[in-house]
Every structure is written in C-alpha cells, then in structure tokens.
Symmetry: C2
Subunit: 248 residues, 2 copies
DNA sequence: CACCCTCGTTTTGGATACAACCTCCGCGCC
DNA sequence: GGCGCGGAGGTTGTATCCAAAACGAGGGTG
C-alpha cells in the first residue's frame, strides 16, 4: 500500500532536460496544493498507485506533513485531469478507464495530435530536431518497458511542443496521462527479456518513428500529420487487440 | 458590481427541456461546492461577471451563506473549465481570452465538433430530430441577441448529444462556454433592432442550420460533418473580422 | 444459508481561526 | 511631474475543529 512514495527519486531513465524534474519537493513560492498534485500525479503515472485504488485524504496529508485542505485541492485538480474520480462523501479513487472510454480518448487524440504536429513541424528549431533524433535513437535501443514508455512519451510530446497552442498541448498531455495505464500494461505484457529483440508492436513503432522524424526534419506538416494519424490509429488497434489488458 | 445574481431566475428564453435548469438552489444530496460552481458559471456565461473582473472568495461566500472552502472548490473547477484564471495569493479573475487563444479554441473546435456530430447523427432519435427542428425554427424568428445566443448553443449541443462520447461532449461544452463572451459581444454589436430583419451573419447562419438539419434528419454523418466544419470555420472568420470585439 | 437491517466507526464535507502574502495608496526622491 | 518604495489593510492559503454521510461488522429473519 505505497500511498505516496517517500523519497523514491526513481531511476529517471536518462532524462536530461527534465521537463517535470522534481516530483516531490516544493518549488519556490509554490502552493502546497500543487506539490501534492504533482506528487499524486507522479504516483499514478508511474504506477505506484493502481487504477481503482482508494486515496484517503488523511493518509496523504499525514505522509506529506500537510493538512487535508491542500490534499482536497489536489484531488479536485487531478479529477479534472481525468486521473482521479471523486464521489461525494465516498472518497477518491485512481481513475480507471473502461474500454469505451479508452476508445473515445483515442478517437479524440486522433483528431487533435495531427493538428498539433502540423502546427509544430514548421516551427521546430534545429535544437528540437536534434533532441528528437536523440530520443528516437534511444527508444530503438531500449528494452526496459518503463524506459520505453517514458521515452516514447517524451518523443511525441516534444514533436508537438513548437505548436503555438498551449491549451491544445495541455489537453494532449492529459490524454497521454489518462491512457498511460494501458500502455504500461501492454508493454509490460509483450516486451521481451533484457537484451532480447524488440517485441510486440515495437518494431513497427520504430519504423513509424523513423518516418515521422524524417517528415519533421523536413518540416513537412502534411506528411507528419498523415503519418501520425496512422500511427495513433494503429497503436489504438494494437492495444485493443490485447483484451487481457482491459480486464482485471 | 453584481457579484452573484441574487434570485434572478432570468427570462430563460423559453427553455422547456431545461438541461441546466436551476442555477442557484441546491439539488438533493449535492455538494455545496457544486452549487457555487453552477452559480458562478451562470454569472459568467450570462455576462453578469465581466471578463477580467476580480472574484473575491469572501464576497461570494457571504452572498451564498457558505464559507470560503466550497468557493475555492468552485474556483478550481471553473479554472479547469477555462472560465476563471487563478494566481496564487493574488486571486481569481474571470478568464479573458486574447485573440490568439480565441483562434486556438476555434481550431480545436473545428477538429472535435465534426467528430461529435458524425457520431451523433446516426444515433439521433425521432424526438431529438423534432427538438432540433423546433430549435431551428425558434432561432429564425428570434431578434433578441441573448435569446439567439442561448438557442444557437442549445441547437448545436443537442445535435451532438447522441454521440456516445461523454468526455468529448463535456470538452465541447467547455469550448462553447469559453468563447461565449465573444459571441455575445459580436451579436450585441451587429444585431438589428426589434422586429427588424436579421443582421450580421444571422442570415447565413440560418441557411447553414437548414442544411445541417437536413443532413441530421437523413442521419447522414458525412454530410453533417462537412457542413458543420464549414460553419465553424466561417463563424470564426466572421467574428475575427470584427476586431472591435477583441479590444476594450 | 443467504439476505437485510442496525449501529458504531471511519471518512469526507464544511466552518472557523490564524498565518502568509499581495495590493494599493501615500510619500519621498530623482 | 513621474517613478520607485514602504507600510497598513485586505485577501488568499492553510490548519484545526465540528457535522454529516458512507462503509462495514454483527446479528436477526425468511
């Protein structure tokens, strides 16, 4: 019952830029509720809190040395991000998507992420391209499922980051977070042993990433958009094919 | 400084189904924070609270006979809906979109609402069609800007309602809420006097609604999708053409 | 043996009280 | 006259405390 990870700085799987660096300690002039939010969000995304698991306000508060007020704020925030579901007087649970909700989210992603990449591609700096290339190569050499997951996420989000649409980018990040549990379950189920070959849909993903990167390097919005749309659709179908990921 | 409307049941412009009927009083077993949320949201959407106006927790709490705790809950909720912007220790203000954010939201709507109507069209019940026809006819006969706005909103949201994608529908409603201030300003600026002819883009909108309704009556997803996409795009351009709506 | 009702415990929702921080107005300085 | 600054007042953030509702164990009943 690892409610909130104590220090647990994780392995961090080679994140150099560290977009979301410190998940635990308070930043300067930051509200307590935001600290709690980040902590709980990380715990959910990293799988330390399982879907359906109950989150007790008092326990979280004690563990962080705060009162329940900031915890409630954090839970509200996370509910709006779709990571937690609240029921009045009944408490908070880590959100759990059923198959229909999962499909819905992918349909939405299929509309929004192509838009994001089309707006981003022509605006990518040379540094951003270099960073994307680096991430792509790292992904191809990774065997560990958790690392693969983290890098894949960073690759895609970085490919959208130049789009001048902050609200869209926030929404997309939220979708990645909400569906993370299934990607984790999927890669945990299919991935091969250390030093083995890539498994599951990883070989196909590698090819798609290569194509996507090529389009991005050319700053070609139409091409990138088309490849990405097909990539998202194929990924959705692949996960959906693994029914065991959805029941438990 | 009408912070929160006292009783003010509004004119309600002939809402029979009353989806969001009671904006003020508490429903059975409802959390206080949700009451506050609905109240503030209505105040913002109906224009009683102006964009940029400050919202003081204490004032809202006193006016509703509650403490500040539920008010804070409501403000967080509304921030996530994009209707309020919060700054730590500095307070809450009614959110105000600049032109770039406004454009961004329309780009997103242009992707999501066609998806929603394509999923909804084949699933519309005969009753829903009848309701849509009724709304369409009401819109054509309305001259009052506020009524036009409310009916137009109901018409479009009703046309999506049969889509089995609850999260998508919630998002779309949020976009309508966020951009409401500009639609209001636009129709307030262009609309003709009582008993005059339709003004501004209203004649074109009437034609588009007729085409859209025809496609919906046939339950034709592709046709509805195409018409809606063009309708959204034209609306965005029309509003953007009226620069005076954006500066003040 | 399964189901339902009851009552105590636990947990959440909300109010009050206190501490941290910002806002804003007036003053001094350039 | 405009700009920066500092303190008083006010607003927000958080902790503590009380009320209300859900959860669960235990016993009774069909």
């Amino acid at each position: 019952m690892a409610l909130v990870s104590i220090p647990s700085n994780m392995d961090r799987t080679g994140r150099e830029a560290a977009e979301d660096a410190d998940g635990g300690r308070a930043r300067a002039g930051e509200l307590l509720g935001e600290v709690v939010t980040r902590r709980l969000r990380d715990d959910i995304l990293e799988g330390r809190l399982r879907p359906g698991e109950r989150i007790r306000q008092e326990a979280v508060a004690r563990e962080l040395g705060a009162s329940r007020i900031p915890v409630r704020e954090a839970l509200l925030q996370l509910e709006n991000e779709g990571l937690v579901s609240l029921a009045p007087y009944s408490g908070a649970r880590v959100a759990k998507l059923d198959f229909a909700e999962y499909t819905e989210l992918y349909r939405i992603r299929e509309q929004l992420e192509p838009l994001a990449i089309a707006e981003s591609a022509p605006r990518l700096s040379d540094e951003a391209i270099a960073q994307l290339r680096h991430l792509m190569l790292q992904i191809e050499q990774t065997r560990d499922p958790a690392t693969w997951l983290a890098l894949d996420r960073r690759f895609h989000l970085a490919s959208y980051a130049a789009a001048p649409m902050p609200r869209l980018l926030k929404m997309i990040e939220g979708f990645w977070n909400s569906t993370q549990q299934y990607r984790r379950a999927f890669y945990a189920a299919v991935s091969a042993p250390r030093d083995g070959p890539l498994a599951g849909d990883q070989p196909l993903t590698v090819v798609e990433h290569r194509l996507l990167f090529d389009a991005l390097e050319r700053r070609d919005p139409l091409d990138a958009e088309a490849i990405l749309r097909s990539h998202i659709r194929r990924t959705q179908l692949t996960l959906a094919g693994r029914q065991e990921v959805f029941d438990e």
